[in-house]
Symmetry: D2
Subunit: 354 residues, 4 copies
């Protein structure tokens, strides 16, 4: 039996690169030789035991690679094609998918929230030499020749998620938008808001390096929550409240402040993965009659989403490459998690190469 | 100075009908001689001191009447026209109105949630012999001859609000919908869900008389929360969760259960006026990545909304009259509040006639 | 080699039931034993040579049947399950499908309008004893036990198409809607408009039997174009123009009259299959600045669409059975085409049973 | 009686600047002293007799100025405020306005297409020293101090119209868009498509100076219809068809080519003012079943629209100033029409100063 190296979760604070069986494709599947992947904030939640996955699982969900095997019935591809696969892998054929809710894909019509997130969650993931891709026909997105692996790897999750924060917020030309936290997802939400025509974008962030990147991604102003009363300042700058507030951290305070920053009728677009229950303050919620909307979005996946995001990079509307700040070999991934988790050294995202 | 009788708020649990100055119309305004009005759940909140308004205010916000005076510049109407006026009276000319958020009308472009609700909140209301209508051009809706006062009075607030629960829920043909609480608003939400093509509607209610009315308004099944585990039962009946859950009570338990009843990607449409902060449970919210939406809606107003709602009654798509269960004179309004507040005697809504 | 009987197209005005090879399922496919099917207006276009398909093709695209064979990888079904399959069979996995444009399914990402319509168009169809279903996982919709074949067969195309006329018209509660022609599709559009909350529905039809059925399906008024000036009458009845006009015939005159009936900002929802170019009159189009919308819709397919439509029948929101006016054996199908094509004897739709 | 200079229409090809009575404001109105205006393509249609207005009318509909008089009831403004007024002046209070169709404003609830366009159409317009503004409360948009007249005058019509072509096309991040004709409106449509996140924008234009400006406004490629087969080239560049095609010329050929350039399910967003009937080709329309949408949009107006557009200029998302290529005094306006109409000398838009 062929083996491969992979990053295996063995329990909270216990991951290691080891040899595991190499996957093979049956009908409808593909196997990808990973050329580049990365680590996500969600992987940190897994590592820390805050989001449960089963022991023995290969983790990671942001794969770029080359097609190594194609199962029966997967057409339009050939071995050797460079492909990007989204973090979420919809089947395209279940009730959720046929209702345009691909991220909540039910695989065989079971109904379960976040069913569409499989890599490194319910099946083996991308921090490995090889990756088995289910529902390959719906998920293999060919990478245009002019784009490098480094230009597309962050589209699998963080750009798709970040942009979706702007999209679910239904941003219109001329909107004012505030984005809480300028980590990788928040930075992409900022870029997404800019792409959709927001005329005034306020980032909220303290870290000087992220503040700088926030402006590069499109923020007109970045507020430091350690220095100013962000809610008051947003209300002042927007003459009464932002049209859309995007939550990109996943904690009570930012969720609540998002709501407080909105004008009546505004939208809170939430991207954070929360670790506990949330509270909706009475006043900020206007007793339920302020026409507020709270929308949550799981990273959109599937090959068409990936194709669209790559087209945005291709015509230079958005450049995710500056977010890839550090490089590691797969063998060094524990070290990479440590750096990424500690936010040392100005890290935003790390490139992992098998 | 001419006087009129009106129901005045003097402090918590202290209202009384007394003589107050009769209003007169200046430019852009109208005065209506009230022929029929009613009491709203929000009026109970006011009476009980749970929602603050200033002492001395005439309360009530559901007016049907006859035009008595027309200020300069109000065109297309004449003295004596029978009119319905929505509970919310948008000006049509401010930033919120020109953004299609009429219920959050800012009057002069101030920005304040629920600014569009003025009658019996920030200006004198409808439980009186006469009512001053601001922004009359945008708010006087002529009543077709074939409709009686009794057929339209409930459109001013409860039908507009209830239907908006279905509309904001973005119900599609074939959706499954659960409506928590079958009071007047919930019953109208049920009717609204039916009108929009929901193929399976579940009411949640214990009161036998309301259960019966719920079925009349369109519920396919009504669950008694005292008898069954509503969340489990909704999930079973809908094979995994409702597409839309409408909250029509305004308490933590129903808000939370709405969320628990949804399928991934579903919408919680909240109509309740809450009296404190809310909690969003971690599991029910799928940690923020279940693609859930929470939308709140304040009663849509304005004459075009009223015209549309009357057209629905005119062609017998919806009949609000059975919800008007009791009749009182304006002089008896304290008694009417008592009956309405205690939910005695199968009361749903009370007709109040000056 | 096993044989089956099927209705084969041999050229304009030349169809006949004959023995052809019986299909078998490979991976991802299913074979259905047809228990009930029908004839569509589009089949008449084919028969008359107005819409070209290749000679030798089995035609028909409205299948109800029982699963006979399941190819590898099709899960959640078993031999003997009763199923309904939509006229349009999206793959769920191509660019169009992953863009929520399932009717324009590109099968392997080719780009071609009406690519999603395959049965009796590009592959063998349903007027046969057996039918090969491609992309079975996305297209087999189990029929609830309480629904008969006769209650669901018209959902495959005419109800899905007719309802989509209302859906694409984006009908809201309180809209006025005019539906041109009350044939099977127009009748379902009328029912769809009613389901979505249109408060005033005008049918346009001369045939007395269809006029009667139009009222049964939800029309408030039916205008006879041989008796009245429909455009003037619609404008009068709607005080200036309908919010939505649905075209369900496919000729210049009705297309044009739809446009003329609209209020400024209204929507023309076109369902007709036209046989030549159309003209957009200058005045009716307000020189291009009347904020009009013209939307066209091909029958939505896929198992989730079918499930939703069946749920509407299940709770008695809509009953398509009265539209099935005549019964034929598959052997008599030439006779059935003749009756259906001539509109004799009050025919609306014919049941064809192999 | 006070007089002012104004450009008066006396019949086809007959305009002249002359003295006319100066307007004064009554309740709800304002008078503006015009500081900057311009000439629109629609004014050329009027001058040439292709669009009828009554003789004696002052034409022009793109006003920037200073408040000179405020009628009773107009609040929040003071004499001397610099304001921009949109070409379309909705009342905010009629059926159309209260249905969010402000451009089709019916003023007193009459129903008439393009009712919202009044300046230089049904009432005196902006090519004058003073302008009477109806429904002033809904239409006076204060100009931020940091913006010059020259930066905002083109927002009144061409930017609002051009952007609306992108907005009505419902452009999403990653869409491919083709814009036919790169005159002032088309250039703004190109800028609007870029603002909304289109990842690939194709301009269609022959004039070298406009080609250059097209790239500056956001086009990735500009095709010369005199050199290439535009439809074929768009299909090639977009791998099968654009998601959205914007018509910004108003003739049969561009309308038709827009349709031919679309992928199945695509949207033709039409901005042109046509001078005769249009034809919809059979094949380009896929016989009516290609899920195509054709949407038309009249310039959105009102003060909130203007505020939003100014905010876009304020944060440098869009700079309309380069489109203002020539300067004239009001006295020279006949000369300015001549230059503008002949497209000589690289003219795009002309500044007219009273």
């Amino acid at each position: 039996m062929q083996k491969m190296k992979a990053n295996v979760f063995h329990g909270p604070n216990n991951i290691r690169v080891e040899e595991v069986p190499r996957p093979h494709a049956v009908a409808g599947e593909a196997v990808i030789r990973i050329t580049l992947t990365t680590i996500c904030g969600t992987d940190l939640h897994i590592l820390r035991g805050e989001y449960a996955v089963k022991r023995g699982l290969v983790i990671g969900h942001e794969p770029v690679g080359v097609i190594e095997e194609l199962g029966e019935g997967v057409t339009g591809y050939k071995i050797g094609d460079r492909v990007l696969i989204g973090a979420i892998t919809p089947c395209g054929q279940c009730r959720a998918c046929l209702s345009a809710q691909w991220a909540q894909c039910g695989h065989g019509d079971s109904v379960e929230a976040v069913g569409g997130w499989r890599f490194g969650n319910t099946i083996n993931g991308a921090q490995a030499e090889y990756l088995l891709v289910p529902n390959a026909q719906a998920n293999l997105a060919k990478i245009p020749d002019e784009l490098s692996d480094e230009q597309v790897v962050l589209l699998a999750d963080i750009a798709s998620t970040g942009f979706s924060g702007a999209e679910s917020g239904n941003i219109h030309i001329g909107d004012s938008v505030v984005v809480f936290a300028q980590g990788p997802i928040g930075l992409c939400a900022t870029a997404g808001a800019k792409l959709m025509g927001a005329s005034f974008i306020i980032g909220v962030e303290s870290d000087p390096m992220r503040v700088k990147m926030s402006k590069r991604m499109g923020a007109d102003v970045v507020l430091d929550p350690k220095q100013v009363n962000v809610v008051e300042e947003v209300k002042r700058l927007t003459s009464g409240g932002a049209d859309v507030a995007i939550e990109a951290l996943g904690i009570q305070q930012t969720f609540e402040n998002c709501l407080r920053c909105l004008r009546p009728g505004g939208t809170l677009s939430s991207l954070g993965v929360y670790s506990g229950k949330l509270q909706v303050p009475y006043d900020a919620f206007a007793a339920g009659i302020g026409d507020y909307k709270i929308v949550t979005t799981l990273c959109p996946g599937g090959k068409e989403r990936m194709r669209r995001l790559m087209s945005v990079v291709q015509t230079k509307r958005f450049d995710p490459k500056p977010l890839l700040t550090h490089n590691f070999k797969l063998d060094q991934i524990v070290e990479a998690y440590d750096l990424f988790g500690s936010r040392r050294d100005g890290v935003l995202k790390v490139a992992i190469r098998p």
